[in-house]
Subunit: 371 residues, 2 copies
């Protein structure tokens, strides 16, 4: 479907009856475009007001409407897109975005720099799920973290990422940490005989982010971890468009308010699987069902589907279930989620009675078993 | 109170009884620091785990706990501060931040560049509430917007801001819009005989934001409008630290999910009045009670109080109630909110039967009446 010069956004909201639902849909359309009482909008500018193109009841007192907005309102600016779809209505209760126009997203956004295929090529790992773990806890020195990294790499983990809280603390400054961990992982790889990628965490002001990205590349990191809701979604775009070619793993810290409320914000699959992928995340971490967080299995399956979907004409992204996955439950999750999944197991590896090296080896064996 | 080498964050959350509440408080303390099962944290690093310093019941099945975190975890990085206070727990339901350690915020953050006193000095307006309106709707040409600006300035409005959706659309590119509006407002000021400040909206990637800030300054704008939850909270800091000296007005688009849920996210006064002020907003727009949005009068009064509070040892910020204020209700709101308030009235001025110039004049008369 060609988006022409408009695109649709699908909202769900509460209303007691059809006339009230019609009024609410129109209110959203105006709030997100002209943001003026309708009668005060000059006649020649009424063409820029959002148009309600569909309205239907989807539950008891729950309605769904698709609203079309002119692409001129966005004018090629991905941040202004966020503003048009959800800026002001984010402050109104009970409104949730359940779908977005994929054809327009494919035009407007860059998408992942290398995507699933690129990550697999760099790992030379095909036809099996992938493994990921994290370096922690906060307070560790760069040397401590590098020791952990070496053990994980020796055991054959595919991707090792920093904890999302590792910034530039004095006990493990960004530069010293990346430098030590890259070298430790190279040592580990000699033992495992396979490739391990390292993704240090990048935070900071825009200037700091780009400077650390350069440092990460120069020191031999293979990608970076970004928390889009902390450093700004635009940092994903800047990194994707940079010349480093480093893939980005996106972490959901600080993003929960957009996705944990059942009738408000965004459906998780649209927020993480569609929007974050569109902004440029190659790997998308989300809190898995059954762990310490609150998404349902269905919501997780939907995130996976959107990350990998061909409906969005951008590179696919690797879904990364996380947040309390028990290493012993991996066969269960592999069966549910399939091979195009990067499993992030943290605490459960640290709990292994025989240590990180054995924990990593077992983790890796569970995955390669599916090759 | 001196924060020493730790700072506190106060959370409210649900629990059926005291043992469950104790467990939940400890879970938050660990989740936001080590993020590892407690027994796997090396002994020498246990000092970096958050400490529960207070726990009390505040309602039926509702508990409040203050947790102290080491400042070393933040290491002077305002974004890492967001991560420590609310990163992972943002994804857990029913957890709300109700207070933050002011002494640490005063150390860590820059605060407003010029604050209430600075805005008043630049306007030469003391001892009375201030007026603000917006240029809209989207789709207007730069010439149209400049015409509106001239009428508002002729009527004596204190601050004219762009609509938050004015980005760099072809019908009103950033540069042409700022240029035309600055000149139109200068004309209007000759008629009114008083000062009017102009705050164009800035969005875009970090590079674009800083470039547009420079352009705004060169063309004679008096401040800028920023949507922190779209361009990133760090953009506030970058602008505050820039050499332009331009004050920042912060707009709440896309921020609703953090503040509209009663038992989740942040208490609005802490998010807008404390956090946004700390990040550097000189003027803080929030959706007023009784308008199109959902905060209560008490929540609005609390935002006002925090914006102006001396508890935070940074410059004060001007609270900006907005979102459907009727021009005829101004005496009511002035009485409630007092003189250190910037009233943002948009649609209701556009609805005035005698046009914008008269609407602006009446608005201004209502305020100067309180001098």
């Amino acid at each position: 479907m060609n988006s022409g010069n408009s695109f649709y956004v699908t909202y769900q909201f509460s209303a007691d009856n059809e006339p009230e639902a019609e009024k609410k849909a129109k209110d959203i359309a105006i709030e997100q475009s002209a943001e003026l009482p309708y009668e005060t909008i000059p006649t020649e500018l009424k063409m820029f007001v959002g148009q309600v193109s569909m309205l239907k009841q989807v539950g008891a007192k729950r309605w769904q409407s698709s609203i079309r907005f002119k692409t001129e309102l966005v004018a090629g600016d991905p941040l202004q897109f966020l503003n048009v779809i959800f800026g002001n209505v984010s402050i109104k209760p009970g409104i949730q975005i359940t779908d977005l126009d994929r054809s327009y997203l494919s035009e407007l956004f860059p998408g992942p720099a290398i995507g699933i295929q690129g990550i697999r090529d760099r790992l030379d790992a095909h036809g099996r799920p992938l493994s990921c773990t994290a370096l922690k806890p906060l307070g560790s020195s760069a040397e401590n973290l590098a020791e952990l990294a070496e053990q994980f790499a020796s055991g054959g983990i595919d991707i090792i990422k920093d904890d999302h809280g590792l910034a530039n603390q004095p006990m493990a400054t960004f530069k010293s940490r990346v430098d030590e961990c890259v070298r430790a992982i190279q040592k580990g790889m000699q033992l495992s005989g396979k490739k391990t990628l390292y993704f240090p965490n990048i935070t900071g002001t825009p200037n700091q982010v780009m400077r650390r990205l350069q440092i990460a590349e120069q020191l031999g990191a293979d990608g970076v971890l970004i928390s889009p809701q902390i450093t700004g979604l635009n940092s994903l775009i800047d990194i994707t468009r940079s010349q480093t070619g480093l893939p980005v793993m996106a972490h959901p810290v600080f993003s929960g308010p957009y996705t944990i409320h059942k009738n408000s914000g965004f459906v998780p699959a649209i927020f993480y699987g569609v929007l974050w992928r569109a902004f440029g995340a190659d790997c998308i971490i989300y809190p898995n069902a059954g762990g310490r967080f609150s998404y349902t299995l269905e919501e997780c399956l939907n995130i996976n589907r959107e990350c990998r979907s061909r409906d969005l004409n951008l590179r696919t992204a690797l879904p990364v279930p996380a947040g309390g996955i028990d290493r012993n439950s991996l066969p269960h999750w592999i069966e549910k989620y399939g091979e195009n999944t990067l499993f992030l197991v943290g605490g459960s590896l640290y709990q292994h009675p025989e240590g990180l090296f054995v924990a990593a080896q077992e983790f890796q064996q569970t995955l390669t078993h599916y090759e």
